[in-house]
Assembly symmetry: C2
Homo-oligomer: 345 residues x 2
């Protein structure tokens, strides 16, 4: 176990100075503090530090709303705190900006802020810290991001393959034979997983799995103007979307084009955000148990801190059937929209 | 929520009789008791029962030793109990025989024995209850077995893909280019996972992935007499085994053939059973954190009971490098054994 003495010895300064630097005392210069922190990380001090002092955890949030009960992140954070606070932890929530990630390595930042572990919500594959998680020393639980091999990180999420299977098998039972998929940008790990899960499900249930049945874009407008008409022309009678907001936009756009939901076309979302119960019609969607994810994320982080190296913790998905989906139509949407779709060309 | 009244009403008997039957009172006939239990299961009574009465869990064990600290199942059970008992549960351990599985459906057995949830160790794909887990109502955590979609079951184990990647990348770094794999029978889910993980790893690290580099059999003797000579003739310089006992047998057999370990051939096991530190030479193996598995299994079961539907909980694997593996030899084992291997033909 690395102690303060080891850092002091390595830097040839006193134990007291190291201690002051670690605790951010005002009479230690920022330059010296940085050197001490870097050396502490290099020696692996973050691991041993866990055992004493205040146990503070941080939930870092990026690309995700969380301040109101209707936001995706809200219930995850509530679930996490419900477990963490009775267990004696202090939980901070920080919005993670690129500046922090670019200026300070993850382990150093955690040590500096006196956090013993973190939950990350909404990281994308291009986030600088994500690459550091391959070798980082401070326990990190990543919602919807998978980092292999590092025993200090855990991937938490729902079983997206199961969720997609539930959606596709339900649609097949409703008589749909050609199903399309619209997705957000594949720069997010979870979008990649769902995208390949979609085609895997089509094959599993013996449906046409033409790659042209999928479309992805960062901008909703591109999904609507480019991919949606293309899928309709291919003869789809149902569309699954990578997340609820996109599904809702697709629903509205289909209605504007003149299609009835679910009579002419079925639309299914992913996540079950609170608003899904109130769309017109209410949306069928794959539910993520967000409170359960928050609770499980805490369990995983607490386990990492207790040297139980959890790699992956997935929750069962659930299909919530509402009114945006139903039996396959007798007349294809493309036949109903013949004139409109030609105009798009 | 289904109550005793509902069962009584359905069977047109009194609440008192239902209660007596559920509690195994001696003045209720076995026939009536069975009818009550079946009706209770049919109505989904097991779910509601959890909320009251003694909270008793059962660890069912099959095909696995667990009574001494050197047994595979021992630490899993200890880890489970360490968490479950302070949380107020009573934990029973039962050896699961085929007779029980064939005579009583899982949900009914659990209700009859007053167990609210179970952990299963050592089930194989042919176990009758395994098929029932697709739709069973009583929470079940399955070590090394994956049952899709049912929100009442969880798969717990280590990340076998990660473990295999650690073994193969280590061997590649040691200069090995042709690696073989010997496995127990593929009637066990975990053996199937590791078998395909092996070939996946070979491809991942750019090594030859000829299907002939793998061999599996129920009997060790078949692995030794049929597959091992075949792999050696193919020119392997290292062999990974699906579990430690097989690896140990392969080590001894290679030594009997005249190969030095690790100078002439490297052998790697899977599991890190306590004996691995004492083989000659001590065995390199992929470690399963068994206490951690036991603790995590309890967490998963407790979560299922609390309606957090955990689907999958995997622990990080760890490669423990001892002396049964080392740099690739300059001379291939097959060249050292030329005469012996010809005699096998």
């Amino acid at each position: 176990m690395i102690r303060i003495e080891d850092i002091a010895k390595k830097l040839d300064i006193s134990k007291g100075t190291v201690s002051k630097a670690l605790n951010g005392a005002p009479d230690v210069s920022e330059t010296l503090r940085k050197t001490v922190l870097e050396t502490a990380v290099e020696l692996g001090y973050s691991r041993s530090m866990r055992k004493k002092g205040a146990k503070q955890l941080c939930i870092f949030v990026k690309n995700m709303t969380y301040t109101s009960p209707s936001d995706f992140g809200y219930d995850i954070i509530i679930g996490f705190r419900k477990m963490a606070e009775p267990a004696g932890y202090i939980v901070a929530v920080e919005e993670l900006d690129d500046h922090i990630q670019n200026s300070t390595p993850y382990d150093e930042y955690m040590l500096k802020r006196n956090y013993v572990g973190a939950l990350f919500l909404g990281l994308s594959l291009s986030d600088p810290w994500l690459h550091q998680f391959r070798t980082s020393q401070t326990p990190a639980v990543l919602f919807d991001n998978y980092v292999k091999v590092n025993p200090n990180t855990t991937y938490v999420g729902i079983d997206n393959n199961e969720g997609m299977n539930l959606a596709i098998s339900y649609l097949k039972n409703q008589g749909h034979r050609k199903i399309g998929y619209l997705s957000g940008a594949l720069g997010a790990y979870v979008n990649q997983v769902r995208y390949s899960a979609f085609f895997h499900s089509l094959r599993k249930y013996g449906l046409a799995d033409d790659p042209g049945l999928g479309g992805n874009a960062y901008l909703f407008s591109e999904c609507l103007q480019k991919h949606l008409p293309r899928l309709l022309k291919k003869g789809v009678t149902a569309i699954v979307c990578s997340h609820d907001l996109l599904a809702h936009t697709v629903m509205i756009h289909c209605q504007e084009l003149g299609l009835r939901i679910p009579e002419d076309i079925s639309i299914i979302g992913f996540d079950d955000l609170p608003f899904c119960a109130y769309t017109m019609p209410p949306m069928t969607t794959v539910q993520q148990n967000r409170t359960g994810i928050g609770k499980s994320a805490f369990y995983a982080l607490d386990s990492l801190l207790g040297n139980i190296p959890i790699s992956t913790l997935l929750l069962h998905a659930k299909l919530v059937v509402r009114q945006s989906s139903g039996p396959a139509p007798e007349r294809l949407p493309r036949d109903i929209l013949e004139d409109t779709l030609q105009a798009v060309d």
